[in-house]
């Protein structure tokens, strides 16, 4: 009952955040300078054509009227139609075609980051103060300092242009070919995962070291359990909670990385769609993409909260 109440509470907060987020996104887009009519009709647009475009798309209606209409349609599952980047195309259709690509690359990156950080973080903690710790910590420091777009080009230079192992550009949808998606998504996923893996590894190392000093670990050792058993059941399990929380929090940065990296590698995802739409002042598309990203972040946060509650030994025992 207590868990259910906790879950419902978190869900309500998430929904409230969605509505506030929707309003903020709408207002920010409207406050931004520039004109979708100019973006759609081009530099030679006549004043008459601009006025007609604005009237046709309801851009001359009062702000509150535009927001209510947008929110109403959105709740009904209709994000509207693109103004400038794919004139007249349904935004829901545009996003549905791209979201699987973004999710695929995102999950791929998280998978890499988790795998890499588990190894680096554990090695660094278990061999604290030794050369391997210094090495692992240094690699993490380099990883966190590398901008993903730069790393993207370096990876292309090395793995695509020099070694010729992987494609330099383009992405195959996982629905078209899973193997194609795994191969074409590898470099984008690596580019996004490097900074994340560094943060994850550092968090895991700190958490493992903290827990290794706890009294219950000393007690466990005094029972005669092997170091491996103590590490797995007393140190690691307790350390994994802040680690998972960090993975959840990093989803925000992951989405930021996706936005940049999708453009560098030509992944037709929601991130690149949002950037193109922002440059072309396609308000409804930017709003829809932001809402989708917001929903992803809130769902991940919710999942992390619930997972941590389930994993916490103090709750389960």
């Amino acid at each position: 009952m207590k868990t259910l109440r906790y879950f419902i509470g978190r869900l309500l907060i998430a929904v409230t955040m969605m509505v506030i987020g929707a309003l903020a996104v709408f207002l920010v887009m409207k406050a931004a300078p520039g004109d979708p009519a100019l973006a759609a009709l081009g530099e030679q647009a006549t004043p008459d054509a601009i006025a007609a475009f604005r009237a046709e798309h309801g851009l001359d209606a009062p702000l509150i009227e535009q927001f209510v209409s947008w929110l109403r349609d959105m709740i009904g599952g209709d994000f509207g139609r693109s103004l400038t980047i794919a004139g007249g195309e349904s935004i829901s259709k545009l996003i549905a075609g791209r979201l699987p690509n973004t999710i695929f690359v995102g999950l791929y990156a998280v998978l890499f980051a988790t795998a890499i950080s588990l190894v680096i973080g554990s090695v660094a903690a278990l061999r604290r103060g030794k050369l391997s710790d210094t090495l692992a910590t240094s690699v993490a420091a380099v990883g966190v300092s590398m901008p993903d777009f730069w790393l993207g080009y370096v990876l292309i230079l090395l793995f695509a242009l020099t070694l010729g192992w992987l494609p330099s550009y383009g992405f195959t949808s996982p629905f078209e070919s899973l193997s194609g998606a795994l191969v074409t998504g590898l470099l984008p996923a690596l580019a996004i995962s490097a900074p994340m893996a560094a943060v994850f590894a550092r968090t895991l190392r700190t958490s493992l070291l903290e827990n290794a000093q706890r009294d219950y670990v000393t007690v466990a050792r005094s029972f005669g359990f092997s170091e491996r058993f103590v590490f797995r059941h007393y140190v690691f399990r307790n350390s994994i909670i802040p680690y998972i929380v960090i993975i959840g929090l990093q989803i925000r940065y992951l989405l930021g990385g996706v936005v940049v990296v999708e453009r560098v590698f030509g992944v037709p995802g929601v991130g690149s769609l949002m950037v193109d739409a922002a440059f072309a002042r396609d308000y409804p598309v930017v709003q829809a993409c932001t809402i989708v990203f917001l929903a992803i972040v809130l769902s991940v946060n919710l999942t992390v909260d619930v997972t941590c509650a389930a994993l916490d030994p103090k709750r389960t025992q």
Partner: protein
């Protein structure tokens, strides 16, 4: 403990086996993937630096990437050859029967992609649609001087002008003019929106699909009127938002050809045996727009001082990495018949004369002004270099304000600016570079510039049918303009296409007629 170890061993083995099996299964169909190396049945012509293609209806389109595609799908009455001479395209011949009357004889046997024949009715319908006064074509002003279009017979059409208008032939050519011939039977009373989404023309390639922000797919038009063309049966045009990604895509074998190249990479790419670089002086103009209605640019002496206070050659080297030419006016050197080759003193770097002009101005050293720019590509560097050089020479305090291209353009149109970097790309007639930018009524005149003598010359040039004499008039008009410095002309950039060494037959034009040149590509 033994039990624990046993469980751990099994799970690790299972994991390794599973991963190996998964990898093997996944890698089997990998070689069949779309991006993998292909034979030459599909030319992959990347549109680099752009990701938005919105409208493929020539009368409604205006963005350069839209025309990159339109040029492959449609033909005009005329077209430019590689020497920028006008030659027939859908028109077999044409004659000027009186100062205001043009007669075009059309090619016989031309068909649209749906199989319908192209006739004089389609030509009349196309031009009437573009020039319609109540229409919303961004190109309608170019055809405003047409008073009537008459169908003489199915293969003959006459265009009657209200007054002699020399630029007409350029505007009837396959450039960013909107005069690409569209099918009357689909558009007369038909759905314009669905035509814009699935265009039908007479071009070498026909439209197959468009995945917004991703790619456009075309296939060869079997009834194309040029014998043996197109050589390559299919074309994909991936939209590559970053020019640098276009280079990596080409070097990595993901595409065969690009529409543009980043200036900074061109010198290195010229040395790379894996790439063919085509380069020619471009049809474009880059300048600093000045608002004459605000201080300090309301003072001609201040404007002149600015024009002589920076080194255009250095700007070409630093901003374009040498991939351009210092401007000597608004008309680019690629339009050689209207371009003045002798450097104008007011467009030369001369610090002493610049300071002398500043002394005559009501604004002195220390004058503050804002130069608008945007952050993309080399544009920011352009503004910063201009401001830094001018400040160093004159002691002024020009400051760069970085915004975003769409915002800068909105502010230019609203005359809500002091100075701004600006430029026009792909214009093919001197009239566009001068009348439209400098004439009191020119639609590109966002500066508030007005000089009756310049206006008179530009109007005279429109009525002069002899190209050599017309060119001389433009040179005179630009010399007058240089005295007023309504804008600060800076440079023209080269146009580039990158391609793999296997691509043959692509001919570059100074206005980068990308899609229109694909039909002649013989190998990839």
């Amino acid at each position: 403990m033994n039990e624990e170890r046993s469980v751990a061993t099994i799970s690790r083995r299972t994991l390794v086996k599973g991963a190996a099996a998964g990898s093997a299964a996944c890698l089997v169909p990998w070689s069949k993937m779309a991006w993998a190396a292909q034979d030459c049945s599909t030319l992959r012509a990347g549109i680099a630096g752009y990701s938005v293609v919105n409208v493929l209806d020539p009368a409604k389109a205006s963005l350069i990437p839209e025309f990159y595609v339109i040029w492959a799908l449609f033909n005009c009455l005329l077209k430019f050859n590689e020497k920028m001479e006008l030659v027939g395209d859908l028109a077999e011949s044409w004659e000027h029967t009186s100062p205001t009357l043009w007669r075009f004889k059309l090619r016989d046997g031309v068909t649209f992609h749906d199989g319908a024949p192209m006739t004089a009715e389609d030509v009349k319908f196309t031009l009437d649609r573009v020039r319609a006064k109540d229409g919303d074509s961004p190109h309608k002003d170019k055809f405003a001087s047409i008073s009537d279009i008459r169908v003489v017979d199915p293969l003959t059409v006459e265009i009657e002008m209200a007054e002699p208008f020399a630029p007409l032939l350029s505007y009837l050519a396959n450039a960013r003019t909107g005069s690409q011939i569209v099918p009357k039977h689909l558009l007369d009373g038909g759905d314009e929106r669905s035509f814009a989404d699935r265009p039908v023309g007479t071009g070498a390639y026909k439209f197959v699909s468009h995945q917004p922000n991703v790619e456009i797919v075309l296939e060869g038009h079997s009834g194309y009127f040029v014998p043996d063309q197109p050589f390559i049966p299919n074309v994909t045009m991936p939209l590559i938002p970053e020019e640098a990604s276009g280079v990596t895509a080409l070097l990595g074998g993901a595409i065969d050809l690009t529409s543009t190249a980043p200036f900074a990479d061109v010198p290195n790419l010229m040395q790379n045996p894996k790439v063919k670089v085509l380069r020619s002086p471009g049809l474009n103009t880059r300048f600093i727009a000045l608002n004459h209605q605000t201080a300090p640019f309301d003072d001609v002496h201040f404007r002149r001082a600015l024009s002589m206070a920076f080194d255009r050659e250095a700007m070409v080297q630093i901003v374009l990495f040498g991939e351009g030419t210092a401007a000597n006016g608004l008309i680019p050197a690629a339009l050689s018949w209207a371009h003045e080759p002798k450097r104008r003193p007011l467009m030369s770097f001369d610090p002493e004369r610049a300071k002398a002009e500043l002394e005559k101005s009501k604004y002195g050293p220390g004058t503050e002004a804002v130069v608008l720019t945007w952050g993309a590509g080399w544009w920011k560097r352009f503004a910063e270099l201009f401001a830094a050089q001018v400040n160093e020479t004159l002691g002024t305090r020009l400051r760069v304000e970085v915004s975003e291209a769409n915002t800068v353009y909105s502010r230019l149109r609203a005359k809500d600016y002091q100075a701004s970097i600006w430029g026009w790309l792909g214009l093919i007639d001197p009239d566009e570079y001068t009348y439209e930018i400098l004439h009191t009524d020119g639609w590109r005149n966002f500066h508030g510039y007005s000089n009756k003598d310049v206006d008179a010359l530009l109007e005279r040039a429109r009525g002069e049918m002899d190209q050599a004499r017309r060119g001389e008039i433009y040179k005179q008009a630009e010399s007058l303009m240089a005295e007023d410095a309504p804008v600060i002309c800076c440079f023209e950039s080269h146009v580039h296409n990158l391609m793999t060494p296997e691509v043959n037959g692509f001919v570059q034009l100074p206005y980068s007629a990308f899609g229109g040149q694909l039909a002649a590509v013989t190998s990839c």
